[in-house]
C-alpha cells in the first residue's frame, strides 16, 4: 500500500527533493513566527513609544512646580557613557507634597531616555534655576509622574520599520502558502501566469505575450544605430566593472595597509606579533593580485577604445540573413580580432542553502575574423559583414531558473596589452511564420 505522506519525493540525479507538504508546513511555521514576532514588536513599540508620549502630551494635567536641584544622569553602555538631564522638583497636589527627579516623559521610560552628548544636556539644565517655579504636567493616574517638558520624539517612528517589515513579509508569504495548500503545481502555475499577463506595465525582461518564455528585450531595441537599424547594448559597462574592481582593490589594500602598520609598529617596539604579520602578509598577497587585476582591467578599459556593434534587424530568426557593422576605436595593433555569435545555457539551482549558477556554451558561430592590422587614433576600424543564422537553432529562452541566451562576442588579441572580450546580447525568436520546421 502506498504511503500517503513521504518525507522525500523523487530523486533528481544526485539531489533528492524533500516532500512538498513538509516544506509547506515548515514554511508556514517559520513565517507564522515571523508574523507573530512582527506583531509583538509593533505592540511593544506602541506601548513603550507612542502611548507614553501621547499621555504626556494630551492627558497630563497642567500644574506648577519648584526646582530644588539639578544634575546630569549618567549610564554606561557599549557605545560609551550616555547622559540625560535630571531636575528635582517639588509640587503639591491635594495638599500632598511630592519631590521627584524628572525632565520629560522618557525619564520614566525603562530605558531611561539616555543619549550621547553631555553638552546638550548641560545647556538644558542651564535653562532651569533652583528655587524658581516652572510650569509642569502631572499624570492624573499617578501623581509621582510629572514632566517639565512635553515633547515628541517622532524620529523614534523609524523603529516601526522593522516590525512592519516582519508583518508584511510574514503575512504575504503566509497568504501565498495558504493559497498553495491543496493546489497542484499546474494550477498554481496557471494562476501565476494569468496574474502576470494581467500586469499592464512592461519590463525589459517581461516575456512577449505572443512568444511565451522568450524575453521581451525592450532594452535591446531602444538604441538606434548610426549605420544600421539598431546599436546593440554591451552586456556590462566596462567603466562600471573597472570602478567596482578599483573600489574593491582600494578597500582591500586599505585593510592590508592598516594591518601592516600595526604589525610593523609592534616590531619596532620590540613586540613581535608573528601571527599578525603572517596574516597581514597573506592579505597583502591577495591585495597584490587585486592590484594587478585592476591595472590590467584599467588598461583594457582605458587603453582599448570602445567597441560598437550595430545590426540591421532584431530579433534574429533562424535561417535569416543579417548585416552587422562593427567599429573598434583606440590606438592599437591587433594580432587578432574576431566576432562570433554564441548560444549559452544557464541554469540556476539550489545546493543546500546556496543558490548556484552554471552556464554552458552550446554553439558558437564565427561571424568575422581578421589577423594583424592596426587601428589608428581618430580612425576607428570599421567593417560591415553579413551573417546567416542557421535554420535549426534554439531560440532565446528564459524561465525562473533556466535560460538560453544568445550574444555576439567580440574578442581581440592586442600586441603588448591584455586580451579583451566584449559581449552584446541579442534575441533569437523562432521562425516568423510560426513553423518550427527546419
Amino acid at each position: 500500500m502506498a504511503r500517503t505522506f513521504r518525507y522525500f519525493e523523487k530523486k533528481r540525479r544526485h539531489r533528492r527533493t524533500i516532500s512538498r507538504t513538509l516544506v509547506i508546513v515548515g514554511e508556514i511555521l517559520f513565517f507564522t513566527v515571523f508574523l507573530l514576532g512582527g506583531i509583538g514588536g509593533l505592540v511593544l513599540l506602541y506601548f513603550t513609544v507612542v502611548v507614553p508620549q501621547w499621555q504626556a502630551n494630551t492627558e497630563f494635567v497642567a500644574h506648577r512646580c519648584t526646582v530644588l536641584d539639578k544634575r546630569i544622569g549618567e549610564k554606561e553602555s557599549d557605545e560609551g557613557t550616555l547622559y540625560r538631564p535630571e531636575i528635582q522638583v517639588e509640587y503639591t497636589i491635594n495638599e500632598e507634597r511630592f519631590v521627584v527627579w524628572t525632565y520629560d516623559i522618557w525619564t520614566f521610560d525603562p530605558t531611561g531616555g539616555y543619549s550621547s552628548g553631555k553638552e546638550e544636556k548641560e545647556r538644558i539644565l542651564e535653562g532651569f534655576h533652583q528655587s524658581v517655579t516652572y510650569p509642569c504636567w502631572y499624570d492624573p493616574q499617578d501623581f509621582t509622574r510629572v514632566v517639565l517638558v512635553r515633547n515628541s520624539r517622532w524620529w523614534l517612528g523609524v523603529l516601526f520599520i522593522l516590525p512592519i517589515a516582519f508583518i508584511l513579509i510574514g503575512s504575504a508569504r503566509l497568504i501565498y502558502l495558504l493559497f498553495s495548500v491543496g493546489k497542484s503545481a499546474e494550477r498554481r502555475s496557471a494562476f501565476v501566469q494569468k496574474a502576470a499577463n494581467l500586469a499592464t506595465f512592461d519590463t525589459p525582461t517581461k516575456p512577449n505575450s505572443e512568444y511565451p518564455a522568450i524575453p521581451g528585450g525592450l532594452t535591446l531595441i531602444d538604441s538606434p544605430g548610426t549605420t544600421l537599424t539598431y546599436r546593440l547594448p554591451i552586456s556590462s559597462t566596462p567603466n562600471w566593472i573597472m570602478g567596482s574592481i578599483v573600489v574593491a582593490s582600494l578597500i582591500w589594500n586599505g585593510i592590508v595597509a592598516w594591518l601592516m602598520v600595526i604589525a610593523i609598529r609592534g616590531h619596532l617596539r620590540g613586540e613581535h606579533d608573528w601571527s599578525l604579520t603572517l596574516f597581514a602578509l597573506s592579505f597583502a598577497v591577495a591585495g597584490g593580485v587585486l592590484i594587478v587585476y585592476a591595472v590590467r582591467h584599467a588598461m583594457v578599459t582605458t587603453g582599448i577604445g570602445p567597441t560598437f556593434l550595430e545590426i540591421s534587424e532584431q530579433p534574429l530568426r533562424p535561417g535569416r540573413e543579417y548585416r552587422l557593422f562593427v567599429s573598434q576605436t583606440g590606438r592599437l595593433r591587433l594580432r587578432r580580432f574576431d566576432i562570433s555569435l554564441v548560444c549559452e545555457e544557464e541554469a540556476t539551482f539550489r545546493h543546500g542553502t546556496d543558490t548556484r549558477k552554471e552556464s554552458c556554451r552550446v554553439s558558437e558561430h564565427p561571424v568575422f575574423e581578421r589577423d594583424d592590422f592596426e587601428v589608428l587614433r581618430g580612425e576607428p576600424f570599421e567593417v560591415h559583414c553579413d551573417l546567416r543564422l542557421p535554420e535549426d537553432v534554439m531560440h532565446s529562452f528564459k524561465s525562473a531558473h533556466n535560460e538560453i541566451n544568445w550574444r555576439f562576442v567580440v574578442r581581440g588579441t592586442v600586441s603588448g596589452w591584455p586580451d579583451f572580450e566584449r559581449s552584446f546580447p541579442v534575441l533569437v525568436y523562432p521562425h516568423e511564420n510560426g513553423n518550427g520546421e527546419a
Binding site: E186, T348, R350, S363, E382
Partner: protein
C-alpha cells in the same frame, strides 16, 4: 490487478507538432470509481529538466470539480483540443532541457492523487551538440568602401 491509472492518447501519435498546430487526444481513467473522484485537472504544459531547478509554464489548463457540480465519469474517455503556442520549442540541451507534455491529474478522496502524463515534441530543434560550427558564409566589406 493494476492500481488506478490514467491512459493518454494523442490523435496523431508520434508526430512532431509545430506552433499553431492543434493538439488533440483522449484520456481514460482506469480502475477508478466515480464516487472516489473529487476533481480532475488537464494541463498542456512545458517544463524544464537538467541542472537548474525545474520551471513550468502552463499553456492550457482545465479543471473539473464535483464540488462545483461538474460531472466526471471515469467510464467515458475525456477529450481535449488546444492550439499550440509559438514558443518555447522542445529542446534537448546540455544543462537545460525543455519538455512539452499533456498531464491529467485526478484528485481522489482521502488526499490521494493519480497522475497520467504523455510527452510530445513542439518544433524540430535538434539536440545541442556543444560544438563550434564551421564558419558560415561571411561577406566582409570595409565600411569606407
Amino acid at each position: 490487478m493494476s492500481g488506478p491509472r490514467i491512459v493518454l492518447r494523442l490523435d496523431e501519435d508520434g508526430r512532431v507538432y509545430q506552433p499553431g498546430d492543434t493538439l488533440g487526444g483522449q484520456y481514460r481513467m482506469m480502475s477508478i470509481e466515480r464516487d472516489d473522484i473529487k476533481a480532475l485537472e488537464l494541463s498542456v504544459l512545458w517544463y524544464t529538466e537538467g541542472k537548474g531547478d525545474e520551471d513550468m509554464g502552463v499553456h492550457h489548463f482545465q479543471r473539473l470539480s464535483t464540488e462545483d457540480g461538474d460531472w466526471i465519469d471515469p467510464r467515458r474517455p475525456g477529450t481535449f483540443h488546444t492550439v499550440l503556442p509559438k514558443s518555447p520549442m522542445s529542446y534537448d540541451g546540455r544543462i537545460v532541457k525543455v519538455r512539452w507534455c499533456i498531464r491529467v491529474r485526478v484528485f481522489l478522496k482521502r488526499g490521494r492523487e493519480v497522475v497520467g502524463q504523455r510527452l510530445f515534441r513542439l518544433g524540430n530543434v535538434p539536440k545541442a551538440s556543444g560544438r563550434k560550427t564551421p564558419p558560415s558564409p561571411v561577406v566582409e566589406q570595409d565600411a569606407e568602401t
